[in-house]
Symmetry: C3
């Protein structure tokens, strides 16, 4: 039974991690979001764009990406669902999930702007999950 | 390990609670939905509208809101995702999650009509979770 | 506590099963998707269309349905959320959840094409969950 309990426990933990992580991004708490990655992480969020590397590199990239919202106010929401996890013998957790991005602009209804598949490698540091890598495929 | 198991257990319970609660609302079982709130609950679902208070008050408010669907038949679906919970030392659980509202009218495809953030305070009564308060922010 | 742990465990297992199952369908791994049904399963995915029966019958039906995508390239995503499960005394698990279907065509943004309610009966075979039946209602 131990292994089954361990699975449920990890599954809930990954779901909860994603909820907190992406609520930080959507609230534009960019430093706190960057802290959910390891110091040496790699983050490829846009096909054809060079991945951001290291936590400071990811934070710089986040600021660059968010600058374009200055002239186009909007509330973005990242919804991660359909999470498939696979713990590896070496310890990292491979997680593959779907992400929908929904944007709402002032005075308008919500708009579905992107459907993605997210490929994560998660590791545990000081008891907390963090992304060692994230690669986002756009549909 | 106990605390970790307890976390997974509570996380699944909150997810399951939301699934049942919102399936009741979408099926227009308004009394059963109102029963998922405590007797003294406060429910603020629309910015600028006075919150509904007490279970009978919530039920009256639900009937008033649903009257407008009489002349505009539609199937609404409330999707709660990205659930972040925080048990407090006093017992209540603070839960913050995203809600999408999808509406389908006869002969038409589904429409994404609202993106929200839901702020709940959940308590346990007779072993069951209930909302002591719900405050809904619209994007 | 055992029963509570058992619930969280089963809830996570059903969520994970759906994630894997529907990622297979969306990747058009039709044989692997058909293998998530029992040999004698019944699958009614479209109102007014005869349900597919038995695993080979389900596979034939999947091929027939997917043929129409040959001339209309698109990436479909099935998102199952708001899962309500009810283990029965005889063993099967009744699961009722919401499904959104999102389609992205080359050069275009994602489109919400269908909102459904999925009624499943899940059973355990050789330790794995499988669908003994699936009935999909379209909104």
């Amino acid at each position: 039974m131990t292994s089954t309990y361990a699975h449920a426990d990890l599954y809930a933990e990954v779901q909860h991690f994603y909820a907190r992580q992406m609520q930080l991004l959507d609230a534009r708490k960019l430093e706190a979001y960057a802290d959910t990655f390891t110091a040496d992480a790699e983050f490829a969020h846009t096909p054809g764009r060079e991945p951001a590397r290291t936590r400071p590199g990811i934070l710089r990239d986040l600021h660059a990406v968010h600058e374009r919202f200055e002239g186009d106010p909007q509330q973005r929401r990242h919804l991660f669902t359909m999470i498939d996890i696979e713990p590896t013998p070496e310890g990292p957790i491979r997680s593959t999930c779907y992400a929908l991005i929904v944007t709402t602009r002032p005075g308008a209804g919500p708009e579905l702007v992107r459907s993605c598949v997210v490929h994560d490698v998660l590791v545990r540091e000081d008891g907390e999950l963090r992304n060692r890598s994230r690669q986002v495929e756009h549909d």
